[in-house]
Structures are given as structure tokens and as C-alpha cells.
């Protein structure tokens, strides 16, 4: 098991190095990067907005319930903004991207691998790394922080609206509470986490897709394994960030 894990890490490091090299050598088409940004960014936006809205509402509701008659309600502004910006915005967006982008990339590349389209690319003198993998990984690193930024803003805003609607907490009080414990670093922390997720999700999905074999069954198996790897990676990275950057 350890050898298998080490082999995955080694192959993904090799893939990352090749992506960086093809980028430096100018082999990656800007048109493909824009197309992937559109596909990953605009395509994922509706689902990201839905999760952001629900995250904001749930945090606001639960926080308000716990604070009733014990802690000043304006603190809810801080709880909602911190929870959404530090944790829920990046992680929920990452989960959306795993399901919508990562699984799709693995299935797409897996199908290409089992139907010999990847071999065809090699035989036609096209390297799949700059041609297929790099645009997806670069697009992931560009759009994920933007999506997380949008999710953060929408999550806090819906938290504010929800607090007003159900607990009667006015926007001024909510924003006062939010500003009271706000650190600019939090936003940088949130977007940095998003950047790492935006890199890891496509790298894992591309890697798992390219090593697919065994027909339709292999595509299904590798897509499932890829999703599991991506979820675990996101959770491990998420758990690694606070001790490294919030102390």
C-alpha cells in the first residue's frame, strides 16, 4: 500500500514538473486555458452559488440559535464571516469542483486512455501534457480562488440576510460584529487554500485519468478512486493549513 501511494506521489510530481516545463517553454495554448477557465469557472458557478447561499444560511441559523440569551447577537457577524471565509467557502467550493470538474476530467481522460486516444496523441507527435493536462490544471489554479472569493461574499451576504430575517439582527450590527474580529490575513488564507485546492483537484484527476486501463469498468473504477483521493486530499490540506498559517 505504501509503495502504491509513493508511486502515485512520484507520478503526480512528474506530471507537475512536466506541466511547469511545458508552461515555461510556451507550449500551452492560451485558447485552451481560456476554454477550460470558462468550462470550470462559469460552468461551476451556479452550483458554487447554491452551496455558498446554503452555507451562509446554515451558519447564521445555527450560530444564532447557540447565541440566544448568552452572547451578544452581533458576534454572529464575526462567526458567520469567519466560518465562511476560513472554512466553508474554500472547502464547499472544492467539493463542488471535485464532483463537477475532477470527476469529469478523470472520466474524460480515462475514456481517452481506454479508447487509445491518448496513444493516438503520442503517435501524432502531440504530448498530452501541454495539450490536455496543462490547460486544465492552470485553469483550476486561476478559477478556484475566484470562485471561492465569490462563494465567500455570497455566503456572508446570505448569512447577513438570514440573521436579519430570522433573528432580527440588523445589517449594521451584523457588519459591526464581522469587522470586530476581521483580519485581512483571513482572506489571503482563504484564497491561498483555494489556490492549492485548484491545483490539487485537476492534478489528481488528470493523473488518475491518464493511468486508466481496463475498458468501461476501469473508467468507472478510476473515477471513483479519483474522487476519493481528491476528497481526502482536500480534507488533509484543510487540516494542515491552520497549524501552518493561523498560529
Amino acid at each position: 500500500m505504501f509503495m502504491g501511494f509513493a508511486r502515485h506521489i512520484g507520478e503526480m510530481s512528474h506530471l507537475t514538473a512536466n506541466i511547469a516545463l511545458s508552461l515555461v517553454q510556451g507550449k500551452v495554448s492560451l485558447k485552451s486555458i481560456f476554454a477550460q477557465c470558462y468550462e470550470q469557472g462559469i460552468g461551476s458557478l451556479p452550483l458554487v452559488l447554491v452551496t455558498a447561499v446554503l452555507s451562509g444560511i446554515v451558519t447564521s441559523q445555527q450560530g444564532g440559535y447557540q447565541f440566544t440569551s448568552s452572547i451578544p447577537l452581533y458576534i454572529l457577524g464575526s462567526v458567520v464571516s469567519s466560518s465562511v471565509v476560513l472554512e466553508l467557502g474554500p472547502v464547499m467550493t472544492a467539493f463542488v469542483l471535485i464532483g463537477r470538474v475532477g470527476a469529469r476530467i478523470t472520466a474524460e481522460f480515462g475514456t481517452m486512455a481506454v479508447s487509445e486516444q491518448i496513444d493516438a496523441l503520442h503517435s501524432l507527435g502531440r504530448d498530452p501534457v501541454p495539450y490536455l493536462a496543462a490547460p486544465r490544471v492552470i485553469a483550476g489554479m486561476i478559477v478556484t480562488p475566484i470562485l471561492v472569493g465569490v462563494a465567500n461574499a455570497v455566503g456572508v451576504l446570505t448569512g447577513l440576510v438570514s440573521a436579519r430575517a430570522t433573528m432580527g439582527l440588523g445589517p449594521e450590527a451584523f457588519l459591526y460584529g464581522a469587522r470586530l474580529y476581521w483580519h485581512s490575513w483571513d482572506l489571503f488564507y482563504s484564497l491561498s487554500k483555494a489556490f492549492v485546492f485548484g491545483f490539487m483537484i485537476p492534478v489528481i484527476s488528470v493523473h488518475m485519468g491518464l493511468r486508466t486501463h481496463g475498458g468501461a469498468e476501469g473508467v468507472g473504477r478510476n473515477t471513483t478512486t479519483s474522487v476519493v483521493f481528491m476528497i481526502i486530499t482536500v480534507l488533509v490540506v484543510d487540516a494542515t493549513f491552520p497549524p501552518l498559517f493561523l498560529n
Binding site: T111, M112, S115, E116, Q117, D119, A120, L121, H122, S123, L124, G125, R126
Partner: protein
């Protein structure tokens, strides 16, 4: 590097090629294919025919041995050499391996060398693509903008052929070109391989199960069995061969073909409206 008594260097040369996955697949294959020659490699499923073909352009790397193209080693001269060699070799995949998201035009365009593609005016690229489609009996006006999913199996194979020949390669490798095709489409593809070879003098290796097609289109045929070449010779030598393996292979194929023919005839007899014994529809 070997050369013939006439001093001609083989276009493709396999030297002691070994490959093993869970079990040995190729066990010391030696074969030389001469310039302009069409060589068919026959053998039952799982004997390593496709693996041998893929070692030619580094899609599968042999464990031992070497492959030389026009005297240059595919494996011992570094990755740059492999990239360079791939420009002159095209591979026709078993199920065409067309790119799903690209149109027929874009698929065939991929057959042109990337550097050559940048240098060519758009009009000339279109002309070349149209010509390559005409060479495989497809009407460019009808298929150029279609996606692979909109084509029949036979048309996809022919687009795969067009992609292989558009860049005017020196070598074309065919991996089971008629597998999955009906006899009419299979005959069409076999004739296209012959006409491409005659017109362009390209060196070809055809991996196939189709004995009759192979004997018709090839200058020489080879029989691969258990990872070793058991026979290499002309179609006439193959037909006359008394080698037990050659005879067994030919007999097995002939027996299978006869059985299929009989099955087809029986099915025809059983069709509603026919006069066969099982024809309930005709009697109703």
C-alpha cells in the same frame, strides 16, 4: 544494423525484441521490413501482434532489444530521436481512436506535423485534408464538419486512415484495420490499404486476423505465436507452407470462416418469409 545483400537498409527492423507484462508477450522477435514493402503480421488473439506494432513508435517500450527505423534506433538515441521518428510514422488504431470532441476536419488536421501545420496556409491545409478524405472514398463536403459520433464504424476507420496519410508519412502501421467491420467495409478498407501502398510507396505493417485480406494485400506475411515469429515469407510461401503452425492457423481460420458461413446460411433459412424448415412466418 543489418542490410540486405543488395545493400538496402530495412525501413523497420526489430532486433531481439522482448516484452513481458504478467507473462512474456514478445520473446526475441527479429524482423526486417524493407522500404515500400507491405508486411502483414498474423496470429491469434493475445500473441503480441499489437504490442509488437506499438513498440515501433514507443507506445510500448520493450524490456530488451531495439527497433530501428531507417537505420536509426528508436530507443537508444533519446526522446528527441523518438519525437523526430514519429513525424515519419503514422499509426492506424484498431477502433480509429478519433478524438471525440474534434470534428473530422480537426481530427485529420492532427495528422499533419505541428510545425508543418503552422507553416501551411489555411487553404492548403483544407485542400490536403479534402484530398486525403477523397483518397479513402469519403466526400469531404459531407463529413468534414461532422463529429466522430455521427459517423458509422466503417467511416470512422476511413477517417482514421485519412488522418494517417494526410501528412504523407513514410511508414503506416495498421492495428487490426478490419476488426469490427462487416465484410463489405472490410474489403473496402483492405483495398484502400493496397491503393495507399501502391500510390504512395509507403512502407506498411498490417496486424490482422484476416488471412485472406493479408494474403491479398501483402508482399510478405509473418506469423506470430507465443511471442515468437514462426513464419516469415511471401503469400505464396504461406499458402504452400507445410509448417504445422502455419497449417493449423490457416485451417483454424478456414474452419471458423466455414462455420460462420454455415451459421449465416442457417440464419437466412430461419428468417420469416424464407422457405427453410424453421420458417414459421412463411407458413402462417
Amino acid at each position: 544494423m543489418t542490410s540486405t545483400p543488395m545493400g538496402i537498409t530495412p525501413m523497420i527492423e526489430y532486433e531481439d525484441v522482448h516484452k513481458r507484462f504478467d507473462a512474456p508477450v514478445l520473446s526475441g522477435v527479429n524482423l526486417a521490413v524493407m522500404p515500400g514493402e507491405t508486411m502483414s503480421v498474423l496470429g491469434t488473439s493475445g500473441t503480441g501482434k499489437s504490442v509488437l506494432l506499438k513498440t515501433t513508435i514507443g507506445l510500448i517500450i520493450p524490456d530488451r532489444g531495439d527497433v530501428r527505423i531507417d537505420g536509426r534506433s528508436v530507443y537508444q538515441d533519446g526522446k528527441g530521436s523518438l519525437r523526430e521518428l514519429r513525424k515519419s510514422v503514422r499509426y492506424v488504431f484498431q477502433y480509429a481512436a478519433l478524438f471525440d470532441s474534434l470534428s473530422v476536419y480537426e481530427n485529420i488536421e492532427m495528422g499533419l506535423d505541428p510545425e508543418a501545420l503552422e507553416a501551411l496556409p489555411k487553404g492548403e491545409v483544407l485542400d490536403r485534408i479534402a484530398k486525403s478524405l477523397e483518397n479513402v472514398n469519403l466526400d469531404p463536403r459531407k463529413v468534414l464538419n461532422k463529429l466522430p459520433a455521427e459517423l458509422s464504424g466503417g467511416m470512422r476507420k476511413r477517417v482514421g486512415l485519412a488522418r494517417a496519410i494526410v501528412g504523407e508519412p513514410r511508414i503506416v502501421l495498421y492495428d487490426e484495420p478490419v476488426t469490427g467491420l462487416d465484410p463489405v467495409n472490410a474489403a473496402t478498407v483492405n483495398h484502400l490499404i493496397i491503393s495507399i501502398a501502391e500510390r504512395t510507396k509507403v512502407t506498411s505493417i498490417v496486424v490482422t486476423h484476416d488471412i485472406e485480406g493479408a494474403l491479398e494485400m501483402s508482399d510478405r506475411v509473418a506469423l506470430l505465436d507465443s511471442g515468437k515469429l514462426r513464419f516469415v515469407g511471401t503469400p505464396d510461401e504461406f499458402r504452400r507452407s507445410t509448417e504445422p503452425l502455419v497449417m493449423a492457423f490457416a485451417d483454424r481460420r478456414a474452419a471458423a470462416a466455414a462455420a460462420l458461413k454455415m451459421l449465416a446460411e442457417n440464419e437466412d433459412d430461419n428468417l420469416p418469409g424464407s422457405m427453410g424448415s424453421g420458417s414459421t412466418g412463411a407458413r402462417a
